[in-house]
Each structure stands twice: as C-alpha cells, then as structure tokens.
Symmetry: C2
Subunit: 187 residues, 2 copies
C-alpha cells in the first residue's frame, strides 16, 4: 500500500539523499548541475519530499543550533534505501528505452554508490541487451519510411538511430571500464 508508485523526481530525490540534504540543497542541485531536466521549483520539490516522508522513505529533521536559519535536513530511511536499490536493480525493459533514457541514466548514475559496482555493470549489460533489438526495429522503420516521408522526417529518425548507436558504443566502453576496475581492485 505504501510505496504505490514513485515518479522520476521522487527517485532523483532518493538518490541525492544518499547524502543528507535540505530541500534547498536539492533545488540547487537541480538548477545548477546537469540535472536540469528535473524541476527545481519549490512547488515540485517540497510536496515531493513530503510524500516521500509520508511513505516512510525519508525522514526530515529540523536542524538545531542557535543562530541558524530554520533548515530541515532529510535523509534516507532503511526502507528508502531498500526502495532505491530495488529500483536501480530492476531489469531494463524496452519501454525504458522507448520512453527516453533519463530514467535509465539516473539509475545508472546512482547505482555504484547505492548498490555497488557490480550493479552498475549489470545495468550496462542489461542496457546493451535491450538496445540491440531496439536499434533493429528503428532501422527497419527507417527503411519503411524511406520511400514516403520527407527528408526532414527521415533525418529525424536517423538522428534517433545515431544517438542510440552512440549509447551502444558508450555502454561498451563503460563495460570495459568497469571490468578493468573490478579486475584491478573491486574495493
């Protein structure tokens, strides 16, 4: 009943809260770093934090100390960490690819810290496996489209294919990085 469904922003917050932070800290991460795809507006973040707390995934504590501004620091509960791990380690489906890669990359970015390097490798291999048939269908679509569609439509599809090819190459590269790293010293 509790963790019914968590939106992408919720998982982004859970991942970032592996390092305890205030709502304002989190907003700054979203607004200043490369995570601009997520909303940095207070109207999104604070309600999301409240929901996560109601689900028992995080816990906030108002910071004590005399001359300080009121500031609530949130941190993961054990239940929250478990949920984060579960999300990260769930296998990558073709829907994950079709609905854009934001979610997948978010999972990967958090994987090493939250679960471990083995989990990162697992995601990469799962991604590689899901990518191959997906690329195949896109190439077929391109062939089917070649006759009818205008140049711009065809090129747009080619762009998608190229970016998935780049993703594939990256996954390959990342796998070698991890395999080398774990061979040397898996810590």
């Amino acid at each position: 009943m509790n963790t019914s469904k968590i939106p992408a922003l919720g998982y982004a917050l859970l991942g970032l809260l592996m390092k305890p932070s205030s709502g304002y800290d989190l907003r700054k991460v979203f607004s200043s770093t490369s995570m601009k795809t997520y909303s940095d507006s207070p109207g999104a973040i604070y309600p999301a934090l409240r929901r996560l707390q109601e689900q028992g995934l995080i816990r906030g504590k108002v910071e004590e100390g005399s001359g300080l501004r009121r500031r609530q620091i949130f941190r993961l509960t054990s239940k929250g960490l478990a949920e984060l791990k579960k999300w990260i380690t769930s296998p990558i489906t073709r829907e994950d690819l079709e609905s854009g890669l934001r979610t997948v990359m978010l999972r990967f970015a958090f994987s090493e810290t939250a679960v471990g390097a083995a989990a990162s490798l697992e995601i990469l291999k799962s991604l590689e496996a899901a990518l191959q048939p997906h690329l195949q269908t896109m190439r077929e679509q391109l062939q089917a489209m070649k006759a009818i569609a205008p140049t711009s439509g065809r090129l747009a599809l080619e762009c998608g294919i190229r970016s998935y090819e780049a993703l594939f190459a990256w996954a390959h590269y990342a796998i070698t990085v991890y395999e080398k790293q774990m061979q040397g010293g898996p810590s």
Copy 2:
C-alpha cells in the same frame, strides 16, 4: 488570449494533422511508430484535440456516409498552420537543449512539410550553434566532477556528452544533405 500555451503533445498533434486524421488515427501513430514518447491514451488525445479546436487551431468534421462508424476527421485551420509554423521557426535556445531534444526533433521532423526545406536548414544551423557552448559546459562539468564523483556518475555524464557529440555530427551531416539537395533542385 487564445493560443496561450500549447504543450508538446499539442504541437505533435498539429504537425500530424497536416494530414487530416481522426483521433484514433493519431493514437495509432503514437502507439505504433517511433513516437512512443507521446501518450497514446484516449484520456490524453481527445481532450487535447478538444482544446486545440477551442483555440481555433483545428476543426473536426464528423464523417458522412451511410454504413460508416462515427468518425471525426480533424484538419488544421489556417490559424493552426500559422501557429505550427511559428513554433517551428522560432530559434533554438539552450533551454531547448537542456530540457531534452524531443521538442527540437519534433520541430525538425515537421519543418520541411510545414514550412519548407529552408526552414529545416535553419533549424539545423541554429541547433549547431546552440550545441557548441552547451558541449563546452558539459565538458567542464566532467572535469570538475572527475575528482569527487563515483565512476558511475562520471560515466553517466560522459554518456550525455557523447550523445550530444553524436547529435552534433548528425546535424553536420544533415546540413550537407540539405545543401546538396537545394543546390540540385530546391523544387
């Protein structure tokens, strides 16, 4: 007052409606082709169509003919075509890149049919120009991150960089395609 703000789905519908279609036809496009990023659920499409009609951008006509199922065919009004063109030809900003490329690619995909090959070329050049500084800041972020972040976080950022590099290469390629085409015969 009228065309206050149109969400991405609305523009996707406008673009597809350059070819008159029913709501069901549009749903099939979203569910069957590579446009799976947009919702194919009736609860999204039909209200969106109604809104576009209320704004005077499209007009629906119930299909006549004896033995037919009730079927409403929508088509663009001149105002709708104008709005579509305006959207397509507006310059590409860095926010367009930061918030993902779905929108930009959608504009490009429709550009040739809606406005003309010159507009497609314009988008590509605008994209190329916006891409360069964006890539630069991403590379700087990677450098800044190298010391602190875990491998997976760094690799995730590298993935983003690589995909933007692929986009850049694609834009270059697409520009040559268009320049060759217009040189030969701009129709």
